[in-house]
Symmetry: C2
Subunit: 205 residues, 2 copies
Amino acid sequence: MILCDVGNTSVDLYQDGKRAKKPAESFDPASIGENVYFISVNASFNERVKAYSNWIDLRTAVMWDGYYPTMGIDRVMVCEAVEEGVIVDAGSAITVDVMCGGAYQGGFISLGLYAAREAYARLSPALDVSWNFEVDLAKMAKNTPDAVTVGFLAPLVAQIQSLGKPIYLSGGDASILSRFFPDAVVDEELIFKGMKKLIEKGRVC
Amino acid sequence: MILCDVGNTSVDLYQDGKRAKKPAESFDPASIGENVYFISVNASFNERVKAYSNWIDLRTAVMWDGYYPTMGIDRVMVCEAVEEGVIVDAGSAITVDVMCGGAYQGGFISLGLYAAREAYARLSPALDVSWNFEVDLAKMAKNTPDAVTVGFLAPLVAQIQSLGKPIYLSGGDASILSRFFPDAVVDEELIFKGMKKLIEKGRVC
Protein backbone atom coordinates (compact mmCIF):
# COMPACT_ATOMS: atom_id res chain seq x y z
CA MET A 1 0.00 0.00 0.00
CA ILE A 2 1.39 3.43 -0.94
CA LEU A 3 0.42 6.44 1.16
CA CYS A 4 1.09 10.02 0.14
CA ASP A 5 0.97 13.36 1.95
CA VAL A 6 0.98 16.24 -0.54
CA GLY A 7 1.99 19.61 0.81
CA ASN A 8 2.52 22.89 -1.00
CA THR A 9 6.23 22.35 -1.52
CA SER A 10 6.75 18.58 -1.27
CA VAL A 11 5.15 15.20 -1.85
CA ASP A 12 5.85 12.72 0.95
CA LEU A 13 5.49 9.07 -0.13
CA TYR A 14 5.31 6.19 2.36
CA GLN A 15 5.51 2.47 1.57
CA ASP A 16 6.51 -0.45 3.84
CA GLY A 17 7.93 1.89 6.47
CA LYS A 18 10.06 3.80 3.95
CA ARG A 19 9.58 7.47 3.08
CA ALA A 20 10.57 9.41 -0.02
CA LYS A 21 10.18 13.16 -0.43
CA LYS A 22 9.86 14.79 -3.85
CA PRO A 23 9.28 18.38 -4.96
CA ALA A 24 5.53 18.94 -5.39
CA GLU A 25 5.81 21.16 -8.43
CA SER A 26 7.54 18.65 -10.70
CA PHE A 27 5.90 15.50 -9.30
CA ASP A 28 3.93 13.54 -11.89
CA PRO A 29 1.10 11.35 -10.49
CA ALA A 30 1.43 9.16 -13.61
CA SER A 31 4.86 8.05 -12.35
CA ILE A 32 3.09 5.59 -9.99
CA GLY A 33 0.96 2.83 -11.46
CA GLU A 34 -0.19 1.22 -8.19
CA ASN A 35 -3.01 2.47 -5.98
CA VAL A 36 -1.98 5.50 -3.89
CA TYR A 37 -4.02 6.72 -0.93
CA PHE A 38 -3.32 10.42 -0.52
CA ILE A 39 -4.19 13.59 1.30
CA SER A 40 -3.37 16.98 -0.19
CA VAL A 41 -3.44 20.66 0.73
CA ASN A 42 -2.01 21.53 -2.69
CA ALA A 43 -4.67 22.98 -5.03
CA SER A 44 -2.56 22.66 -8.17
CA PHE A 45 -1.77 18.99 -7.43
CA ASN A 46 -5.47 18.34 -6.76
CA GLU A 47 -6.23 19.48 -10.31
CA ARG A 48 -3.48 17.37 -11.86
CA VAL A 49 -4.35 14.21 -9.91
CA LYS A 50 -8.01 14.16 -11.00
CA ALA A 51 -7.09 12.30 -14.22
CA TYR A 52 -5.67 9.30 -12.31
CA SER A 53 -8.13 6.81 -10.83
CA ASN A 54 -5.36 4.97 -8.94
CA TRP A 55 -4.91 8.08 -6.75
CA ILE A 56 -7.53 7.84 -3.98
CA ASP A 57 -8.23 10.98 -1.95
CA LEU A 58 -8.73 10.09 1.74
CA ARG A 59 -10.56 13.39 2.39
CA THR A 60 -13.83 11.71 1.38
CA ALA A 61 -13.29 8.91 3.93
CA VAL A 62 -13.19 11.27 6.92
CA MET A 63 -16.20 11.43 9.25
CA TRP A 64 -16.24 15.23 9.15
CA ASP A 65 -18.98 15.56 11.80
CA GLY A 66 -16.42 15.41 14.57
CA TYR A 67 -14.02 17.89 12.96
CA TYR A 68 -14.71 21.25 11.30
CA PRO A 69 -14.88 21.94 7.55
CA THR A 70 -11.90 24.30 7.26
CA MET A 71 -9.64 22.11 9.40
CA GLY A 72 -6.49 21.09 7.50
CA ILE A 73 -6.66 17.49 6.27
CA ASP A 74 -3.12 16.85 7.57
CA ARG A 75 -4.31 17.88 11.02
CA VAL A 76 -7.32 15.55 10.77
CA MET A 77 -5.01 12.65 9.86
CA VAL A 78 -2.71 13.01 12.87
CA CYS A 79 -5.85 13.12 15.03
CA GLU A 80 -7.16 9.92 13.40
CA ALA A 81 -3.96 8.19 14.54
CA VAL A 82 -4.64 8.81 18.25
CA GLU A 83 -7.49 7.53 20.43
CA GLU A 84 -6.66 9.51 23.54
CA GLY A 85 -4.17 12.33 23.83
CA VAL A 86 -2.88 15.70 22.74
CA ILE A 87 -1.39 15.76 19.25
CA VAL A 88 1.21 18.44 18.63
CA ASP A 89 2.16 18.72 14.97
CA ALA A 90 5.08 21.12 14.80
CA GLY A 91 5.60 22.27 11.24
CA SER A 92 5.23 25.71 9.66
CA ALA A 93 2.41 26.12 12.19
CA ILE A 94 2.17 24.19 15.45
CA THR A 95 -1.26 22.60 15.66
CA VAL A 96 -2.41 21.28 19.03
CA ASP A 97 -5.43 18.97 19.04
CA VAL A 98 -7.18 16.92 21.69
CA MET A 99 -8.65 13.46 21.13
CA CYS A 100 -10.79 11.77 23.76
CA GLY A 101 -12.07 8.22 23.25
CA GLY A 102 -11.44 8.59 19.52
CA ALA A 103 -13.54 11.78 19.33
CA TYR A 104 -12.11 15.17 18.39
CA GLN A 105 -12.38 17.72 21.21
CA GLY A 106 -11.01 20.78 19.43
CA GLY A 107 -7.63 22.41 19.38
CA PHE A 108 -5.63 25.51 18.63
CA ILE A 109 -2.97 26.79 16.24
CA SER A 110 0.32 28.40 17.25
CA LEU A 111 2.97 29.78 14.97
CA GLY A 112 5.72 27.36 13.99
CA LEU A 113 9.19 27.91 15.43
CA TYR A 114 10.54 29.35 12.17
CA ALA A 115 7.54 31.65 11.66
CA ALA A 116 7.78 32.91 15.24
CA ARG A 117 11.51 33.58 15.02
CA GLU A 118 10.96 35.42 11.77
CA ALA A 119 8.14 37.51 13.28
CA TYR A 120 10.32 38.58 16.23
CA ALA A 121 13.16 39.47 13.82
CA ARG A 122 10.77 41.59 11.77
CA LEU A 123 9.74 43.54 14.91
CA SER A 124 13.20 44.80 15.71
CA PRO A 125 16.87 44.01 14.98
CA ALA A 126 17.25 43.69 18.76
CA LEU A 127 14.88 40.68 18.70
CA ASP A 128 16.59 39.04 15.71
CA VAL A 129 18.52 36.64 17.95
CA SER A 130 19.23 32.90 18.01
CA TRP A 131 16.86 31.14 20.33
CA ASN A 132 18.24 29.30 23.33
CA PHE A 133 16.62 25.87 23.36
CA GLU A 134 18.66 24.96 26.45
CA VAL A 135 16.81 27.62 28.45
CA ASP A 136 14.95 26.78 31.67
CA LEU A 137 11.36 27.63 30.79
CA ALA A 138 10.43 27.83 34.48
CA LYS A 139 12.64 30.89 35.00
CA MET A 140 11.97 34.49 34.03
CA ALA A 141 14.63 35.60 31.53
CA LYS A 142 17.34 38.20 32.00
CA ASN A 143 18.76 38.39 28.48
CA THR A 144 17.20 38.82 25.04
CA PRO A 145 17.65 35.30 23.56
CA ASP A 146 16.16 33.76 26.71
CA ALA A 147 13.38 36.40 26.89
CA VAL A 148 12.28 35.58 23.35
CA THR A 149 12.62 31.79 23.69
CA VAL A 150 10.79 31.75 27.03
CA GLY A 151 8.23 34.24 25.67
CA PHE A 152 7.24 31.92 22.89
CA LEU A 153 7.81 28.46 24.35
CA ALA A 154 6.99 28.69 28.08
CA PRO A 155 3.30 29.63 27.60
CA LEU A 156 2.85 27.09 24.81
CA VAL A 157 4.52 24.20 26.64
CA ALA A 158 2.60 24.95 29.87
CA GLN A 159 -0.69 25.13 27.97
CA ILE A 160 -0.10 21.78 26.26
CA GLN A 161 0.92 20.15 29.54
CA SER A 162 -2.12 21.58 31.32
CA LEU A 163 -4.37 19.53 29.05
CA GLY A 164 -3.37 16.53 31.18
CA LYS A 165 -3.27 13.88 28.47
CA PRO A 166 -0.57 11.77 26.82
CA ILE A 167 1.33 13.96 24.35
CA TYR A 168 2.20 12.91 20.78
CA LEU A 169 4.73 15.04 18.90
CA SER A 170 4.96 14.98 15.14
CA GLY A 171 6.21 17.24 12.34
CA GLY A 172 9.63 18.62 11.42
CA ASP A 173 10.24 20.39 14.76
CA ALA A 174 9.06 17.48 16.94
CA SER A 175 12.57 16.63 18.10
CA ILE A 176 13.32 20.24 19.13
CA LEU A 177 10.08 20.42 21.11
CA SER A 178 10.58 16.97 22.65
CA ARG A 179 13.18 18.27 25.12
CA PHE A 180 10.40 20.27 26.77
CA PHE A 181 8.06 17.25 26.93
CA PRO A 182 10.11 14.47 28.51
CA ASP A 183 7.17 12.03 28.56
CA ALA A 184 5.89 12.72 25.04
CA VAL A 185 5.84 10.14 22.27
CA VAL A 186 7.73 11.47 19.23
CA ASP A 187 6.24 9.92 16.12
CA GLU A 188 7.21 11.33 12.73
CA GLU A 189 4.87 8.86 11.02
CA LEU A 190 1.71 9.83 12.86
CA ILE A 191 0.14 11.23 9.69
CA PHE A 192 0.63 7.92 7.84
CA LYS A 193 -0.67 5.94 10.84
CA GLY A 194 -3.82 8.06 10.73
CA MET A 195 -4.22 7.44 7.01
CA LYS A 196 -3.75 3.68 7.50
CA LYS A 197 -6.30 3.58 10.33
CA LEU A 198 -8.81 5.42 8.18
CA ILE A 199 -8.30 2.97 5.31
CA GLU A 200 -8.73 0.04 7.73
CA LYS A 201 -12.07 1.48 8.86
CA GLY A 202 -13.23 0.53 5.34
CA ARG A 203 -14.91 3.80 4.40
CA VAL A 204 -12.58 4.37 1.45
CA CYS A 205 -14.15 3.85 -1.97
CA MET B 1 8.03 68.94 34.22
CA ILE B 2 7.95 67.61 30.66
CA LEU B 3 8.46 63.88 30.09
CA CYS B 4 9.07 62.35 26.70
CA ASP B 5 9.07 58.79 25.38
CA VAL B 6 10.78 58.62 21.98
CA GLY B 7 10.00 55.60 19.85
CA ASN B 8 11.04 54.78 16.31
CA THR B 9 7.94 56.29 14.74
CA SER B 10 6.59 58.76 17.31
CA VAL B 11 7.52 61.12 20.12
CA ASP B 12 5.14 60.94 23.09
CA LEU B 13 5.18 64.08 25.24
CA TYR B 14 3.63 64.23 28.72
CA GLN B 15 3.03 67.32 30.84
CA ASP B 16 0.54 67.89 33.68
CA GLY B 17 -1.40 64.72 32.81
CA LYS B 18 -1.71 65.66 29.13
CA ARG B 19 -0.16 63.73 26.29
CA ALA B 20 0.79 64.83 22.77
CA LYS B 21 2.09 62.52 20.07
CA LYS B 22 4.26 63.78 17.20
CA PRO B 23 6.00 62.03 14.32
CA ALA B 24 9.57 61.18 15.37
CA GLU B 25 11.17 61.90 12.02
CA SER B 26 10.15 65.55 11.80
CA PHE B 27 10.30 66.34 15.53
CA ASP B 28 12.78 69.11 16.41
CA PRO B 29 14.15 69.00 20.00
CA ALA B 30 14.80 72.76 19.71
CA SER B 31 11.03 73.33 19.63
CA ILE B 32 10.98 72.92 23.45
CA GLY B 33 12.95 75.37 25.59
CA GLU B 34 12.12 73.90 29.03
CA ASN B 35 13.84 70.90 30.59
CA VAL B 36 12.63 67.62 29.11
CA TYR B 37 13.30 64.27 30.76
CA PHE B 38 13.30 61.62 28.06
CA ILE B 39 13.89 58.01 27.17
CA SER B 40 14.55 56.97 23.58
CA VAL B 41 14.96 53.82 21.51
CA ASN B 42 15.45 55.97 18.40
CA ALA B 43 19.11 56.09 17.30
CA SER B 44 18.62 58.99 14.86
CA PHE B 45 16.83 61.09 17.52
CA ASN B 46 19.62 60.29 20.01
CA GLU B 47 22.13 61.86 17.62
CA ARG B 48 20.00 64.98 17.04
CA VAL B 49 19.21 65.54 20.74
CA LYS B 50 22.87 65.59 21.83
CA ALA B 51 23.14 69.30 21.00
CA TYR B 52 20.44 70.28 23.53
CA SER B 53 21.38 70.37 27.19
CA ASN B 54 17.74 70.85 28.27
CA TRP B 55 17.02 67.30 27.05
CA ILE B 56 17.97 64.94 29.90
CA ASP B 57 18.33 61.25 29.09
CA LEU B 58 16.93 59.11 31.93
CA ARG B 59 18.91 56.06 30.76
CA THR B 60 21.84 57.24 32.89
CA ALA B 61 19.64 57.41 36.01
CA VAL B 62 18.69 53.71 35.91
CA MET B 63 20.31 51.33 38.40
CA TRP B 64 21.18 48.84 35.65
CA ASP B 65 22.44 46.15 38.07
CA GLY B 66 18.93 44.84 38.51
CA TYR B 67 18.08 44.82 34.80
CA TYR B 68 20.11 43.60 31.84
CA PRO B 69 22.10 45.77 29.40
CA THR B 70 20.13 45.02 26.21
CA MET B 71 16.73 45.43 27.92
CA GLY B 72 14.64 48.11 26.21
CA ILE B 73 14.62 51.37 28.18
CA ASP B 74 10.82 51.62 27.77
CA ARG B 75 10.50 48.23 29.42
CA VAL B 76 12.75 49.33 32.28
CA MET B 77 10.56 52.41 32.83
CA VAL B 78 7.27 50.51 33.17
CA CYS B 79 9.04 48.24 35.67
CA GLU B 80 10.26 51.26 37.64
CA ALA B 81 6.60 52.28 38.06
CA VAL B 82 5.65 49.09 39.92
CA GLU B 83 6.88 47.80 43.29
CA GLU B 84 5.16 44.43 43.19
CA GLY B 85 3.46 42.86 40.22
CA VAL B 86 3.53 41.65 36.64
CA ILE B 87 3.82 44.39 34.06
CA VAL B 88 2.39 43.59 30.64
CA ASP B 89 3.28 46.21 28.05
CA ALA B 90 1.29 45.35 24.93
CA GLY B 91 2.70 47.22 21.97
CA SER B 92 4.44 45.97 18.82
CA ALA B 93 5.84 43.31 21.15
CA ILE B 94 4.19 42.22 24.40
CA THR B 95 6.75 42.41 27.18
CA VAL B 96 5.96 40.65 30.45
CA ASP B 97 8.09 41.56 33.46
CA VAL B 98 7.99 40.68 37.14
CA MET B 99 8.80 43.08 39.96
CA CYS B 100 9.12 41.90 43.54
CA GLY B 101 9.74 44.37 46.39
CA GLY B 102 10.95 46.92 43.83
CA ALA B 103 13.50 44.48 42.38
CA TYR B 104 13.41 43.18 38.82
CA GLN B 105 12.89 39.39 38.66
CA GLY B 106 13.12 38.90 34.89
CA GLY B 107 10.56 38.56 32.17
CA PHE B 108 9.82 37.43 28.66
CA ILE B 109 8.84 38.84 25.28
CA SER B 110 5.87 37.73 23.20
CA LEU B 111 4.85 38.98 19.79
CA GLY B 112 2.41 41.88 19.76
CA LEU B 113 -1.14 41.20 18.58
CA TYR B 114 -0.55 42.84 15.20
CA ALA B 115 2.77 41.05 14.63
CA ALA B 116 1.23 37.71 15.56
CA ARG B 117 -1.80 38.18 13.29
CA GLU B 118 0.54 39.16 10.46
CA ALA B 119 2.75 36.11 11.05
CA TYR B 120 -0.25 33.73 10.88
CA ALA B 121 -1.44 35.44 7.69
CA ARG B 122 1.99 34.98 6.15
CA LEU B 123 1.89 31.23 6.91
CA SER B 124 -1.23 30.54 4.89
CA PRO B 125 -4.24 32.35 3.41
CA ALA B 126 -6.36 29.95 5.51
CA LEU B 127 -4.90 31.52 8.68
CA ASP B 128 -5.37 35.10 7.48
CA VAL B 129 -8.55 35.51 9.52
CA SER B 130 -9.99 38.11 11.91
CA TRP B 131 -9.33 37.14 15.48
CA ASN B 132 -12.25 36.50 17.78
CA PHE B 133 -11.59 38.46 20.97
CA GLU B 134 -14.93 37.27 22.37
CA VAL B 135 -13.68 33.69 22.37
CA ASP B 136 -13.67 31.57 25.53
CA LEU B 137 -9.98 30.87 26.06
CA ALA B 138 -10.79 27.91 28.31
CA LYS B 139 -12.31 25.96 25.42
CA MET B 140 -10.55 24.10 22.65
CA ALA B 141 -11.49 25.69 19.32
CA LYS B 142 -13.51 24.18 16.50
CA ASN B 143 -13.12 26.86 13.82
CA THR B 144 -10.13 28.70 12.38
CA PRO B 145 -10.60 32.21 13.88
CA ASP B 146 -11.03 30.68 17.34
CA ALA B 147 -8.15 28.22 16.81
CA VAL B 148 -5.79 31.06 15.99
CA THR B 149 -7.02 33.42 18.73
CA VAL B 150 -6.95 30.68 21.37
CA GLY B 151 -3.60 29.46 20.00
CA PHE B 152 -1.95 32.79 20.61
CA LEU B 153 -3.84 34.17 23.62
CA ALA B 154 -4.74 31.20 25.83
CA PRO B 155 -1.13 30.14 26.54
CA LEU B 156 0.00 33.74 27.05
CA VAL B 157 -2.89 34.70 29.36
CA ALA B 158 -2.50 31.50 31.42
CA GLN B 159 1.25 32.04 31.75
CA ILE B 160 0.80 35.63 32.96
CA GLN B 161 -1.90 34.60 35.42
CA SER B 162 0.24 31.74 36.73
CA LEU B 163 2.80 34.28 37.98
CA GLY B 164 0.35 34.96 40.82
CA LYS B 165 0.92 38.70 41.21
CA PRO B 166 -1.13 41.85 40.61
CA ILE B 167 -1.21 42.54 36.86
CA TYR B 168 -0.58 45.98 35.30
CA LEU B 169 -1.50 46.41 31.63
CA SER B 170 -0.02 49.18 29.54
CA GLY B 171 0.62 49.94 25.86
CA GLY B 172 -1.63 50.36 22.85
CA ASP B 173 -3.31 46.94 23.12
CA ALA B 174 -3.87 47.07 26.89
CA SER B 175 -7.63 47.53 26.54
CA ILE B 176 -7.99 44.55 24.18
CA LEU B 177 -6.01 42.35 26.57
CA SER B 178 -7.85 43.65 29.63
CA ARG B 179 -10.94 41.56 28.87
CA PHE B 180 -8.86 38.47 29.60
CA PHE B 181 -7.52 39.88 32.88
CA PRO B 182 -10.59 41.06 34.79
CA ASP B 183 -8.57 42.05 37.89
CA ALA B 184 -5.75 43.83 36.08
CA VAL B 185 -5.00 47.52 36.44
CA VAL B 186 -4.99 49.19 33.02
CA ASP B 187 -2.62 52.13 33.11
CA GLU B 188 -1.63 53.81 29.84
CA GLU B 189 0.67 56.19 31.71
CA LEU B 190 2.78 53.58 33.44
CA ILE B 191 5.86 54.55 31.46
CA PHE B 192 5.58 58.19 32.57
CA LYS B 193 4.95 57.11 36.18
CA GLY B 194 8.18 55.10 36.02
CA MET B 195 10.05 58.10 34.65
CA LYS B 196 8.66 60.37 37.38
CA LYS B 197 9.58 57.89 40.12
CA LEU B 198 13.10 57.66 38.78
CA ILE B 199 13.44 61.46 38.74
CA GLU B 200 12.12 61.62 42.31
CA LYS B 201 14.82 59.15 43.41
CA GLY B 202 17.21 62.03 42.71
CA ARG B 203 19.78 60.17 40.62
CA VAL B 204 19.19 62.36 37.57
CA CYS B 205 21.99 64.77 36.76
